[in-house]
């Protein structure tokens, strides 16, 4: 389904999954204003994924989020929730099915943690036993000991703990959808990072549909299965996986927004094991004779040669100076191998190792420390080139598809 309202360069994810929530031409114009705060937004929020809305301050991303649970009533368009048009249903009933987490958390200060978490279950009319069990379950899920925290008041919590309770409370009625408005924005960076990781782990089990608003592109890249980069009036500038957005920002706005170093950030999504390793590096065993070693070295274009011990573990980097010096045994000649990476490391980690190593390349080793191959800068550059060209091809294919759709007159999608 393609929509004319979406700018042609905004892009749509391939193999579109089932949408949990669809916004169809949703807009909000405040009374007394001629300029809409959110203009004609079409958004498909895929089931079981984290969709991050990210954009500069004042672009309307929070407004967009609040349009979904109708904390702000849209002035145009339709909201489809799980196949049902909820544009005009009772908003209070709708909100009980949607978890909501805000940056200020907004715990009720006069209620205990247990009472806070029980808010939605109580509204849904659950019995006492079920509510108590649910409260304990949620506290445990968010890493808080129920016995210790159940009867505390919010003022007795640290910022990180309060936000955990905020998430637990939002999950109270077991909603299918969670809306999160800069949930970790007011928390110090170290705690924020930990909460993000724990939240990703939790989401791995829960598989909720989550819409997550942030202004921090790094948080978006980290948290998002998909990212929608929003411009003025919540116009979608690019909607795609973080990998592809980093590899191929569709326009200058997106490129500016993701900022410098996006290529480096993209390396976080690729792992060493998926690479073709360099095969032209000379590798010898520690008991190879000097003549054989010299011959191999001369045959190779590289300036360094890797020495493995009897267990296939890399020990030294040597060059022709070291080979020519018969006084030093090979297991003590040259430079020690300090840049080793495991196959499941990201290319970002690998690059860091390579930059730190004295030889300029990293040795890939398995769990037992045995050499699997060598990773050098050229391989890394190849990967980046490949990522970029893949993303570019994807967008070119999309453009062709859209042109074809337009030519067939089916471009409007309905």
């Amino acid at each position: 389904m393609t929509d004319l309202a979406t700018p042609p360069n905004a892009g749509t994810p391939d193999a579109e999954p089932k949408a949990m929530i669809q916004l169809q031409g949703v807009g909000k114009t405040y009374p007394g204003s001629t300029v809409p705060a959110v203009a004609d937004l079409d958004l498909h929020i895929p089931v079981g994924e984290i969709l991050v809305l990210v954009g500069p301050s004042g672009c309307g991303k929070s407004t967009t989020l609040r349009l979904i649970n109708r904390m702000i009533e849209p002035t145009s368009g339709r909201i489809i929730f799980d196949g049902e048009d909820v544009t005009t249903v009772n908003p209070d009933m709708l909100r009980r099915r949607i978890g909501y987490v805000i940056q200020q958390i907004g715990l009720f200060p006069h209620q205990t943690i247990a009472q806070n978490i029980a808010t939605v279950p109580k509204l849904l009319g659950w019995d006492k036993k079920r509510i108590a069990a649910r409260v304990d379950e949620l506290l445990e899920m968010t890493g808080l000991d129920p016995n210790q925290f159940r009867d505390r008041y919010p003022k007795e919590l640290s910022g990180g703990q309060a936000q955990r309770v905020g998430v637990a409370r939002a999950l109270g009625g077991d909603p299918e959808v969670l809306l999160m408005d800069e949930p970790f924005g007011a928390i110090d960076p170290i705690t924020r990072d930990r909460l993000q990781n724990e939240f990703l782990r939790l989401q791995g089990d829960l598989k909720k549909t989550i819409v997550f608003v942030t202004h921090d592109i790094d948080e978006a890249i980290k948290m998002g299965d998909r990212i929608a980069i929003l411009g003025e009036q919540s116009v979608i500038r690019q909607f795609d996986t973080p990998e592809r957005i980093l590899a191929y920002p569709v326009d200058d706005f997106v490129a500016d927004f993701i900022g410098a170093g996006s290529t480096l950030k993209g390396l976080n999504f690729e792992r060493v094991r998926d690479l073709q390793l360099a095969d032209d590096w000379p590798i010898i065993s520690v008991d190879t004779s000097r003549e054989d070693a010299q011959r191999l070295y001369d045959a190779s274009p590289e300036k360094w040669m890797l020495v493995l011990d009897s267990e296939q573990r890399p020990i030294r980097w040597v060059n022709d100076h070291h080979l020519a010096d018969p006084g030093t045994p090979l297991d003590r000649a040259g430079a020690v191998v300090n840049a080793k990476v495991m196959p499941n490391a990201t290319l970002h980690d690998a690059l860091e190792e390579m930059l730190l190593s004295n030889a300029g390349q990293a040795v890939v080793v398995d769990e037992k420390g045995r050499c699997q191959g060598i990773l050098d800068i050229e391989r890394l550059a190849d990967v980046l080139k490949r990522l970029r060209s893949q993303a570019k091809k994807h967008y070119e294919a999309l453009a062709v598809q859209e042109a074809a759709d337009l030519a067939n007159g089916s471009g409007a999608g309905h």
């Binding site: 904390m71 200020q104 006069h110 210790q148 939002a170 990072d193 990781n197 782990r201 976080n268």
Partner: protein
């Protein structure tokens, strides 16, 4: 005896470490959240009650000492016939005390019944615009001297305690109304937003979030109103409303210091006691956790 808060993040950081997630960079700081952890020490209930409420024990002490001093002063003083008559407990002092208290109680009750709902209404978005003018009227109402207000009420409603009660409840409308509005407006917007976002209706949000959180401020207004009323009730005798003002007036007319002092000290002791009871109520009704 005391239970310091323990490291609650031990579990969380362990989980993060188990996570096969190379983006995790935080494991180097497993104890970070401890630093901003609030250390709450719990004292045994009785001890805590006394320690945190030490101020509440001073007022009854003053009242008791003052009452005893007055009693012995009156007992030991030389009394003429008029003194005996004016200070007769069953004939004068007791009914006047009761009247004084009942005027105070009813006036305050009417004030609350009028001002709190009005305050709630004037903080709702629909009626918000009416707030400023109504508050202005209430303010100018309080600018009228109480004496003048009593006389105006008398001219309109005639003699009797109910005239006093109505006049006083109008007079003390302002502190309760203003505190109700301020109390509701100072409730953290994000708390209401979170509640509404979870599906509380407007009415539920008012009942379960806004009003409980405004209670301390509203009660402070009520306490102010009580103290004003108890003092003003001493003027009720002017329009036939009774109260301890009768004894003060008798003392003035007879030029008898003993009677005058008895009336004045009793009024003061009643005011202190009422204020103390109000403080107790304030303490009890204040939601825990604030």
């Amino acid at each position: 005896m005391s239970t310091p808060v323990q490291d609650t993040d031990a579990l969380g950081s362990e989980a993060a470490m188990n996570l096969d997630d190379v983006r995790a960079v935080n494991d180097a700081y497993p104890d970070h959240e401890l630093s901003d952890e609030l250390s709450t020490y719990r004292l045994p209930p009785g001890f805590r009650l006394i320690k945190t409420n030490i101020g509440l024990f001073i007022t009854p002490l003053i009242v008791l000492i003052g009452g005893a001093a007055l009693y012995f002063y009156v007992q030991s003083a030389d009394k003429i016939f008029q003194d005996e008559r004016a200070l007769d407990w069953n004939r004068n002092l007791k009914p006047q005390l009761e009247q004084h208290l009942s005027i105070t109680m009813w006036a305050t009750l009417f004030t609350i019944v009028m001002a709190v709902p009005l305050g709630v209404l004037l903080t709702r978005p629909r009626y918000k615009r009416a707030g400023a003018p109504i508050l202005a009227v209430a303010t100018s109402g309080q600018a009228i001297p109480a004496f003048g207000l009593l006389v105006l009420a008398f001219a309109w409603l005639g003699r009797g305690p109910w005239t006093t009660i109505w006049a006083l409840s109008l007079f003390t409308l302002l502190p309760v109304l203003r505190n109700t509005m301020v109390g509701l407006e100072q409730v953290d917007r994000s708390v209401i937003e979170a509640g509404r976002g979870m599906g509380l209706t407007k009415r539920q949000a008012l009942r379960h979030i806004e009003l409980p959180l405004a209670v301390p401020v509203i009660l402070a207004g009520v306490r102010t109103a009580l103290v004003i009323t108890v003092g003003m009730a001493a003027l009720a005798f002017l329009i036939g409303g009774g109260g301890l003002g009768e004894t003060i007036s008798a003392g003035l007319k007879l030029s008898r210091d003993l009677v005058l002092i008895t009336g004045a000290v009793m009024t003061a002791l009643v005011a202190l006691t009422v204020d103390w009871i109000a403080a107790l109520i304030e303490k009890t009704l204040r939601p825990s956790g604030l």
